[in-house]
């Protein structure tokens, strides 16, 4: 493949990861925003739904951000270095927000909200969750504005005004738009979570919030587009040109999301709002193409050589093949109802219950660690491997990763299958029973 194709693919990879971060991680920020805005007599119940929904998944959602960063600095070193230099202030503030958000969420849930320090960490969590996406939005706005001049060097030289680049009306509107988008995502997802938890009142709260936030998002999006005409002309030209289909799709899907929410089609709304977010990011990316930092840095002039991009893409695609099923497994397992309601209270008793619930002694459990052990071994042996084509040398690492993911996944899938079969059998039996009853009844009627 040519250098240019590889660079395009790498940019697409970064963009896909960015969309994943927006759709998944954005909702976690939104959770924090709704935590801050929780109100009325059901405020605590709303907060509980948010905490339950985020708890198990926010950390892996957060890793998408790291993935975006890593792909960016590997494939486009000058973009990463240039953005970090030009937007030092908003990025520093965003990092502070990310650190405080994550730590505070974990501290709060471990302290329990009622306790004094739990409440304090709760505020840190929700305020940091609101500020961080705002800063990300302003960063995005600044990149499109054309106010950052980069000479790729060497040495790399960056010129911009560190204070005004990200505080133009356009960039600030982008920041608010990001906050609004996060809140729509979160509110839509939380409607389902609350409905599942059997709390219809809270579900209605979130449905209403999703609709209001959706309207706000639409208004801010329109405002940003209008401001772009003068402040980010390259972006605007792209939006009414090559990115027009995506822009229109975003608007249409946005309206469809609102309609789905109005008609209480929660699950449809969830899919639509995720699709809408993806369309917004695609519209932004395509409109700005081929610029990564307008007007000096493009996908082609910033890309690493093919010898870097090739392995990066191979590793990433194979990595995602392992990652996505694992992620799917995580999302399905945490949605299961736990066997007990309060896992961490009274360890003595609960552990006894846990041990009692173990299946009968099963001494000939096959040693499940053979694959991971050999994986470990190959990781140790790796440095000693002789040279050769790239794939041959990466292969053992990939094989190791596969083995790692495979062991619990296979067990998990088997477990899921046996569960499904069990449920299916039960339903079948019930159906037979019901039919028999019906026949009985109709026979009696005759």
């Amino acid at each position: 493949m040519s250098q240019s194709t590889l660079a395009t693919l790498a940019a697409a990879l970064a963009w896909v990861a960015l969309i994943a971060y927006a759709v998944l991680g954005g909702a976690d920020f939104g959770g924090g925003i709704w935590d801050l805005l929780a109100s009325g007599s059901r405020a605590e119940r709303q907060r509980a739904v948010i905490a339950r929904g985020m708890g198990p998944v926010w950390e892996s959602n957060n890793v998408w951000l790291i993935f975006v960063l890593v792909v960016t600095w590997t494939a486009f070193p000058t973009v990463y270095a240039g953005i970090s230099t030009a937007l030092f202030i908003p990025i520093t503030l965003a990092v502070i927000g990310i650190v405080l958000r994550g730590a505070a969420f974990s501290f709060r849930s471990n302290y329990g909200r009622e306790v004094g320090s739990g409440v304090r960490w709760g505020y840190v969590f929700s305020i940091a969750s609101t500020i961080t996406p705002f800063l990300f939005g302003t960063i995005a706005g600044a990149l499109a504005s054309g106010n950052i001049r980069v000479s790729t060097g060497p040495p790399l030289q960056v010129q911009d005004n560190p204070w005004t680049t990200w505080t133009t009306p356009f960039a600030l509107t982008c920041g608010l738009f990001a906050v609004a988008l996060c809140s729509v995502l979160a509110a839509t997802y939380l409607t389902i979570d609350a409905r599942k938890a059997g709390d219809d009142a809270v579900a209605e709260d979130f449905r209403l919030r999703a609709l209001v936030a959706g309207a706000v998002t639409a208004a801010l999006g329109a405002l940003a587009a209008v401001l772009a005409i003068s402040e980010a002309p390259t972006l605007w030209q792209g939006l009414i040109g090559k990115a027009l289909p995506f822009a229109i799709a975003a608007v249409v899907i946005g309206l469809a999301t609102a309609a789905a929410l109005l008609r209480r089609l929660d699950y449809l709304a969830r899919v639509l709002v995720a699709a809408e977010t993806a369309c917004i990011f695609l519209a932004w990316g395509v409109a700005q193409w081929p610029y990564l930092i307008v007007p000096d840095v493009t996908v082609d002039n910033a890309a690493s050589p093919a010898s870097v991009l090739g392995p990066l893409l191979i590793v990433s695609v194979l990595g995602l093949v392992i990652l996505l099923p694992s992620l799917w497994y995580l999302f399905t397992v945490v949605k299961r109802t736990p066997r007990r309601s309060t896992p961490s209270v009274g360890t003595g008793v609960t552990t006894a219950a846990f041990v009692a619930s173990l299946p009968l002694a099963d001494p000939d459990v096959p040693p499940p660690h053979t694959a991971p052990l050999s994986a470990q071994a190959s990781a140790v042996v790796l440095p000693a491997l002789p040279g050769g084509p790239t794939m041959q040398r990466i292969a053992p690492v990939l094989a190791a990763l596969f083995a790692i993911a495979a062991a619990p996944l296979i067990t998990g899938i088997f477990e899921g299958m046996s569960r499904g079969m069990h449920r299916g059998m039960q339903q079948g039996l019930e159906r037979v029973q019901r039919r028999r009853n019906q026949r009985h009844r109709s026979a009696h009627a005759h």
């Binding site: 970090s84 030092f88 050589p305 397992v333 006894a352 470990q376 140790v380 040398r393």
Partner: protein, 447 residues
């Protein structure tokens, strides 16, 4: 505070903070994996309680490690944009591998933490294996980046840019295997000693039950299992330094003249101006032996290199002291588990609970962290003034932005606050369970 000093201080604070959580994040999964495995096999509730508690602690530590790691991945660019512009294409692939490992670790740790009540016991136990292995692998890739800064390979330098980039060759740079294994084993040692210390403290307070005894036992088991690997890794890294970075070895050993029969100077203050080392304990021929396995081997001294490539009058003595601190403590950590297991077998396979031994274990735990930090300080200061050895000076990699000093103080404050909060939380977690006595409550119902 100028930009370079501030940037170095900022990254030093962040890494010094992160390394603690990273080490425990690598080691604790191994501990709860073993504990749960024994619990599953022996159908023993006490092991389960141990595993479950460690997993909760690991959950808290992992979050702090993950957020400080996320912060680090921004800090590289914020503080060292020119270094990243030059090198991130070369070592980016290692971070990509590390990223996937970390991703899988986060996923399976999530499964482990939230799966106690949702998965079958066996599946749940299996979920700990990916956490153990991805944690260990991730450390290997990160250390590979660090060792690349020491022995940069996999590219050709033309007019200040890197060409002919081979990311795989960069990954397997000469210092990579020894550094990576040394760190991984150290992480297990730190965790083993820390776990042992936590339960030694309980035993010292009179809570002599199987729960506490097993905590000490498993901690010491891991610490003992690491004796041989660490002895090998330690001498391996010394030899690798002598071969690949003789200047770094000379700096951290305070060896000024190239000489055969080089003595090993323990402690003392290195004076780079007078080219002397004061108050040191000299062991004749030892450095030659450590570096080349011969008592008469010639070891390169600092005189072989121009003065403007020395780490400097302040950093050399600090690196030397840090190295000796690590090495001395390292020896202690090889000895203590031996003593423990000696008494274990002499008492016919009963966990020794003598108060003096418990005190030793209690003191060893903070010392393992001291050794960990000292080792890292040695590795980083010994490389100065280079950020990429012989390629780019640290002062050429730093950001041109002002305001780095402000960045430093803000992050210092945040990390101090996080450290205090984490310790408070872990203490709370420990208190929650301290009344737990397996002999009274569980054994009957477990059968």
């Amino acid at each position: 505070m100028n930009s370079e000093v501030a940037a170095r201080a900022s990254l030093a604070v962040s890494l010094a903070f992160h390394i603690v959580f990273a080490a425990l994040g690598i080691g604790l999964p191994l501990m709860f994996c073993i504990a749960e495995g024994i619990g599953l096999r022996k159908r023993d509730a006490t092991w389960y309680v141990l595993a479950r508690r460690w997993s909760r602690a690991a959950g808290i530590l992992f979050v702090v490690g993950a957020v400080s790691g996320t912060a680090l991945s921004f800090e590289f660019g914020l503080l060292w944009p020119r270094f990243m512009a030059f090198g991130s294409g070369i070592f980016g692939l290692m971070f990509t591998f590390e990223g996937f490992c970390f991703f899988l670790e986060a996923i399976f740790l999530g499964l482990y933490l939230f799966g106690w009540d949702r998965l079958s016991p066996r599946t749940h136990w299996l979920c700990s294996f990916p956490v153990v292995i991805t944690g260990a692998l991730a450390s290997q890739f990160i250390l590979s980046v660090n060792s690349w800064m020491n022995t940069p390979t996999g590219f050709t330098l033309t007019n200040g840019t890197a060409t002919n980039i081979d990311p795989i060759a960069a990954m397997f740079n000469p210092m990579a295997p020894s550094q990576a294994i040394h760190m991984l084993v150290a992480a297990y040692q730190v965790t083993g000693f820390t776990i042992a210390a936590v339960y030694a403290a309980g035993l010292l307070r009179g809570r002599n039950n199987s729960y506490h005894r097993r905590g000490v036992l498993l901690g010491m088991l891991v610490a003992a299992a690491m004796i041989i690997p660490q002895a090998i890794a330690g001498s391996w890294i010394g030899e690798a330094l002598a071969r690949n970075q003789p200047q770094k070895l000379a700096s951290i050993e305070g060896l000024f003249q190239t000489t055969a029969h080089a003595p090993l100077a323990l402690f003392g203050w290195v004076d780079t101006a007078a080219q002397q080392i004061y108050f040191a304990i000299n062991i004749p021929d030892m450095l030659s032996f450590l570096a080349f396995n011969h008592f008469d081997a010639t070891v390169t001294g600092m005189d072989a290199f121009p003065q403007n490539t020395w780490p400097g009058p302040v950093l050399v003595p600090i690196a030397h002291l840090a190295f000796d601190t690590m090495a001395t403590l390292g020896g202690l950590f090889l000895l203590v588990p031996l003593v423990f297991w000696f008494f274990y077998f002499r008492q016919h396979r009963a966990v020794p609970t003598a108060r003096w031994l418990m005190w030793v274990l209690l003191i060893c735990s903070p010392l393992t962290f001291v050794a960990l930090e000292a080792g890292w300080v040695t590795a980083e200061l010994g490389r100065q003034p280079w950020i990429i050895y012989n390629i780019m000076r640290t002062s050429d990699g730093v950001t041109t932005n002002g305001g780095v000093a402000f960045f430093f103080f803000v992050f210092l404050a945040i990390y101090i606050a996080l450290a205090i909060a984490t310790i408070a939380l872990l203490r709370r977690l420990a208190r929650e369970h301290k009344t737990f006595n397996p002999e009274k409550k569980v054994v009957g119902s477990a059968e």
